[in-house]
Symmetry: D2
Subunit: 346 residues, 4 copies
Amino acid sequence: MNMLRFNNDYNHGAHPAILQALQETNDTAFGGYGMDEVCEAAKEAIQQYLQSPCSEIHFLVGGTQANYTVIASILRPYQSVLAAETGHIAVHETGAVEHTGHKVETLPQKDGKITAAQIEEAAVAYETSLIPEHITQPGMVYISNPTEFGTIYSKAELEEISRVCRAHGLPLFVDGARLGYALGAADNDLTLADLARLTDVFYIGGTKCGALFGEAVVINNPELQKCFRNNIKQNGGMLAKGWLLGLQYLTLFRDGLYFEITKKADVLAMQIKEAFAAKGIPSYIESCTNQQFVILENSQMETLAKNHIFEYDRKIDENHTSVRFCTSWASKQEEIDALTADISRL
Amino acid sequence: MNMLRFNNDYNHGAHPAILQALQETNDTAFGGYGMDEVCEAAKEAIQQYLQSPCSEIHFLVGGTQANYTVIASILRPYQSVLAAETGHIAVHETGAVEHTGHKVETLPQKDGKITAAQIEEAAVAYETSLIPEHITQPGMVYISNPTEFGTIYSKAELEEISRVCRAHGLPLFVDGARLGYALGAADNDLTLADLARLTDVFYIGGTKCGALFGEAVVINNPELQKCFRNNIKQNGGMLAKGWLLGLQYLTLFRDGLYFEITKKADVLAMQIKEAFAAKGIPSYIESCTNQQFVILENSQMETLAKNHIFEYDRKIDENHTSVRFCTSWASKQEEIDALTADISRL
Amino acid sequence: MNMLRFNNDYNHGAHPAILQALQETNDTAFGGYGMDEVCEAAKEAIQQYLQSPCSEIHFLVGGTQANYTVIASILRPYQSVLAAETGHIAVHETGAVEHTGHKVETLPQKDGKITAAQIEEAAVAYETSLIPEHITQPGMVYISNPTEFGTIYSKAELEEISRVCRAHGLPLFVDGARLGYALGAADNDLTLADLARLTDVFYIGGTKCGALFGEAVVINNPELQKCFRNNIKQNGGMLAKGWLLGLQYLTLFRDGLYFEITKKADVLAMQIKEAFAAKGIPSYIESCTNQQFVILENSQMETLAKNHIFEYDRKIDENHTSVRFCTSWASKQEEIDALTADISRL
Amino acid sequence: MNMLRFNNDYNHGAHPAILQALQETNDTAFGGYGMDEVCEAAKEAIQQYLQSPCSEIHFLVGGTQANYTVIASILRPYQSVLAAETGHIAVHETGAVEHTGHKVETLPQKDGKITAAQIEEAAVAYETSLIPEHITQPGMVYISNPTEFGTIYSKAELEEISRVCRAHGLPLFVDGARLGYALGAADNDLTLADLARLTDVFYIGGTKCGALFGEAVVINNPELQKCFRNNIKQNGGMLAKGWLLGLQYLTLFRDGLYFEITKKADVLAMQIKEAFAAKGIPSYIESCTNQQFVILENSQMETLAKNHIFEYDRKIDENHTSVRFCTSWASKQEEIDALTADISRL
């Protein structure tokens, strides 16, 4: 029995429709570096959901690359990016943003999220500083949706954040490495059109949402679109065979497959959540998406580890550990059933 | 008729065996970030050709990324990389190396190549400078094989370059984005084992040699191996689904497919070369690999452009233009036949 | 009445002996970029206190420059520097360290200081991480002595920090922008020789300790000495008329003037401290050096501001504010007397 | 006899008036970081020559620092700076510009100068490139006046360069480390007002023109002025005792001393030039400013080296060497007389 199942959402290849598309086009010649008709078609497929004709779409290979390329393309040398202290760029990207020369100024988080009020406070702190030249100037805001804890921003929250960002001239960038799982959550009230309207840049994650790899960066603010392809190339993110990215996004967005498969993963995640809840096992953070963080007794952890693979999150105390169970577009109902049965037997 | 044929060597997907391998493993779960058994197997498959047990192999996505990641991992802040003035890092990577903080100090080239004597001269110039603090210190040497003009280094040349580099403490890095086509050339006398022995770092190009994407970076100098994975991650080159890279290299190297398909492309390129020669059309530079640069009269260029796509290289004079014809692992004999027939009718 | 007095320790020119030395040498020609006999003599003058013949000394212009030049010269691209969350590099240098590509990983502070235990914990956290490639690797430790709050490290504390750093391969760097005031404190038990023995790099601040400008960087670890002049030049810190720096340090260290004038400033600071204590006005942090942070009622603050200039530190509550009073090598007894008299009348 | 005389223009302290000003203000307290009344007065003194009320003036410590700080403040990440292949930033600043992430794209020079036509050609080459994302985008132009060979740009040349730069959206930056010697040359027809009108940024060198140190950066283009102080601080160029820079510039510009002393140096340089010409000794490049490059027979070089110090420039052939003789604001007529007498005896 192959045990790698719930550890993350990037442990399988791609949705079969993507492999099929690769197969079907393998004998066709395409132009290089994303200048091809497949990428154009993929952008059109995405645009039907954006309702934002001025937005530009670029396909990059991975999330860290997308994050630092976007951030470095926006900031002036003396500017920093505001982020939650748990934001992916602040903790799990090997200092990639700092490597481009910029400080990540972190804000305290709650459930992985930051608020419009916090952003405003940080902006005002700089604007009213007596020594502005000696501190970094906030130059943009980074949030992830869903967050690193699986929580999501509501439309009201994003609207308020967007309003504050615009009032203070701070471009808003949403890391959507798992965006499909946010959009598919039962609690979600945001659409891609909302994201296009409320953010300056965001990306639609492919790697964790059905593709072999790929992140579709959507730049809504025309001022930030200038020469973005140059930034991609300089940062090593321009795939020679760019149509491979276009093909995957075309497959995922032509008929809404992206939304369907991520929503299903959220539904399966709720089954896991409920199974733990039924046993009185608490969540570390309440998540409505495909990542579930629960606090297990160490003996429970060992029992579950016999048949299932999941990820260590953090030690809670001598006897308890927070662990992460992920579903994904590749999860199967029978896998969930096996897990929830084992949970119920704990 | 699809005309994109001879413009480059990255206009098709992948060798069918690779797509098949993707298909066969699509239901299997793997560990993330290249820590999986497929990558291990792929490294072993490559190692049989390296005969260099201390070498480390890492799989990156693309060439520009591989180039600047390797270079930035080696140099100290005040050091530069020596390269031919036509080296890819010097002309076609959007200043990616400079973006990491390092100057590319260029040397005059002949047929895209530099010599051991030139490297020695540059090293000595620094070592004997009266103002060493005011100039950049050569910290490594970059060459490409085949070069950007399709020419190749002989074993004798590489041995001499290697000797000079070691005498002056300069790590030698070979960009092998098209390495297969060098190894497959009739004139070639180098092996992967020679490269492992004579260089500090080199890479075995996949993107242009049969894979969907991927470059296998081989670090032979143990001092340069330290924490290279950290560098990959920081530079956005660590693919979440790392086994996709391993799988492609395993397919290409398990049974020598890599050598076979690139050699075939070289053979086909020689047919194009001979067709031009038979018409008295001169080469811009004599190449024995899959890239052929010929000087066409503009009217000839227009005639060939009716049925074939090839790449503009440079204007020679009012009436002549240097253009590039590429074959690749995906080229078919009938395509070459069609082209050579058209050439013969010029 | 000129009111700029207690706001900082860089509000006056230089000790008169320095101006006199400038005058006396103004007609003499010197070699450029610090390659001159005056710099050599200054290094010898400092060396008598270091007792560390293998240490190298370099003169830089300012503190921020010294900090990022040293840090960038030590770290590999994927490494970070550990520092107190209140460390100067973390808060008041416009992200200069991040600008060189490196993250400042901050540790909680107490009285501006960090402990050997905290450093060890951070080192072990990386060494035992399951995902070391995804986080920054601690590559060195930065502390300031005195700290940004005027507190100092004891010999026992520095020995313990040094021991931990060496055990984990972390170079230890001490920012000594105000080092004179630490060495001159009544509570101090460290010497320059201790610093040379226990640290990898430290600097002896001139700008705030009697010079017009200048920081003497002492590199004790031979491995970190390589090509440091190249780093200085590249980072814009190599003064063309380098002897101006040598001349100032020669004047300050030939006969121990440096120690004398900073010690006097500490004595005067203690008079201020005692004056506040006598009125029951609490310190924000207990400092034994030339910076005194006290918590004033806002009405007291306004009263003192009539005759004295001091620096806003932070708001404590609606009615209280922490402010900083600095003495310096330029402070005069009569100025302190005027201040303490006003304090006593609060 | 002290022999260091003609090797460079930064071998002496400062004009006596500057030392006197330092002396007179040494007991006065000033605000930090250039926010003081002396800097304001110095800016006003310079402004009388600029006739450009919207220009901003900032005082930095040195030339390399000024160069890379200005350049990095202007360019976007994927942009390069165009410069003569002999430009100081291209050859003698340890790759400081590349260290900020930007390529220096060099153009062939004549007498150290580049032309409007060359700039236009480079701009058009990018604008018409088929692969703009793969090459660096020219983002500004750097020239030095006088050049590294002592030659100067005429008003007509600068007007034409300025016109081309504006037509192609390329900010024009003039390195004026020796600007005084250009303005003082008999052949010169440029004024500071011309520079303010025709350039986006230029600087008025102090280090080599009478000051202890200092460069006054003048930013004429309002779009480039934003947060320049933040850039200075981040790049280690913000002197804590900023008034030391203001004081020097005030002294040099209050009554035109700057122009007077540099003009005198040019006059003395012409005496050297004529002495060589009278002996039939050729110039390497014809210069009308304080740097004179002449081609000596090696035996002549040895003879002159007995009494005079000058700088090696380059080997011409086995028997001839190009060497540089510099005058400066500190040169005395009797020193020139001694040299010209020795020349006449060759």
